[in-house]
């Protein structure tokens, strides 16, 4: 853990910055325009990695929540909280960029396509998770309720993929890509993964400080 902390504090911010600059350079200077959608298709290189980060974040919430329920590990509970918040940030990016892309391509800012609808459902579930954690206090019982919600919520992700097959929406699917597009997507994915890990680390650090404050307050009360 100490080794990762040193990596996350000293290397990860610079790695994120370097990969992000490379990603932006590739999106704006290297990758060619898509034949049908033109310039606006470049939104896809930030939209798809954000969607993957959303899924990653919510899978971490589910895994850590299961670990908390199983073993009662406080670290797992903190990890779930941190991953839920970071996952929400990327889920918001997915919804906003998708909506901006839809306006020139579909002619509307929003449509109730199965995939879009399921992403809104996902966003709502984890917004509820964060509200529960924020408003209901930090008791063991609330942590358990939140863990159950975190596990149930992740079921929306496989449902999202099944819904696409069942109700064939209008959301585009990626089948084949030119090598330049594939490379650009890979670099953008790496940049967003670094950003995700860094944000998760920063949020975890905040939550550990909060734990320390609670412990110090208890100690102060015990001595008075």
């Amino acid at each position: 853990m100490k080794r990762f902390a040193s990596f996350a504090d000293n290397v990860l911010p610079w790695l994120t910055l370097a990969t992000m600059i490379a990603a932006l350079a590739m999106v704006f200077l290297y990758v060619p325009n898509e034949r049908v959608q033109g310039l606006v298709q470049r939104i896809f290189y930030f939209h798809l990695p954000s969607a993957w980060n959303t899924f990653l974040g919510f899978f971490i919430v589910a895994g850590a929540s299961a670990s908390y329920l199983w073993q009662g590990s406080r670290f797992a509970d903190l990890l779930a909280q941190a991953a839920a918040e970071v996952g929400m940030v990327f889920c918001t990016i997915v919804l906003v960029t998708g909506s901006i892309w839809a306006r020139p391509i579909w002619g509307v800012w929003w449509t109730w396509d199965p995939r879009l609808t399921m992403v809104v459902v996902l966003w709502t579930i984890y917004a509820a998770y964060l509200l529960l954690r924020h408003l209901a206090g930090d008791t063991e019982q609330i942590a358990r309720y939140a863990a159950v919600l975190g596990i149930v919520g992740v079921l929306d992700i496989p449902l999202l993929h099944i819904a696409v097959r069942l109700w064939r929406g209008i959301h585009p699917k990626v089948d084949k890509m030119a090598p330049e597009m594939m490379w650009t997507l890979l670099v953008c994915t790496a940049a967003f993964l670094c950003l995700f890990t860094w944000m998760l680390w920063l949020r975890l650090r905040n939550l550990s400080l909060r734990e320390e404050i609670v412990a110090l307050r208890r100690q102060a009360l015990a001595t008075t």
Binding site: T92, M199, N206, T223
Partner: protein
């Protein structure tokens, strides 16, 4: 160059969201670190080991 406004708007939105989230993380960290420090000092003044 059609739809350049949308492309610009999308990338601006991404950076605004990321910037404000990182700013909020950094502010929360500063406030929590200050509180830890204040509590530690209070404990030291009381002579309590921590």
């Amino acid at each position: 160059m059609e739809h350049i406004t949308y492309l610009f708007a999308a990338f601006l939105a991404v950076w605004i969201i990321i910037f404000f989230y990182l700013l909020s993380l950094s502010r929360r960290h500063r406030d929590l670190a200050n509180e830890v420090e204040a509590l530690r000092q209070m404990m030291e003044q009381k002579g309590t080991p921590h």
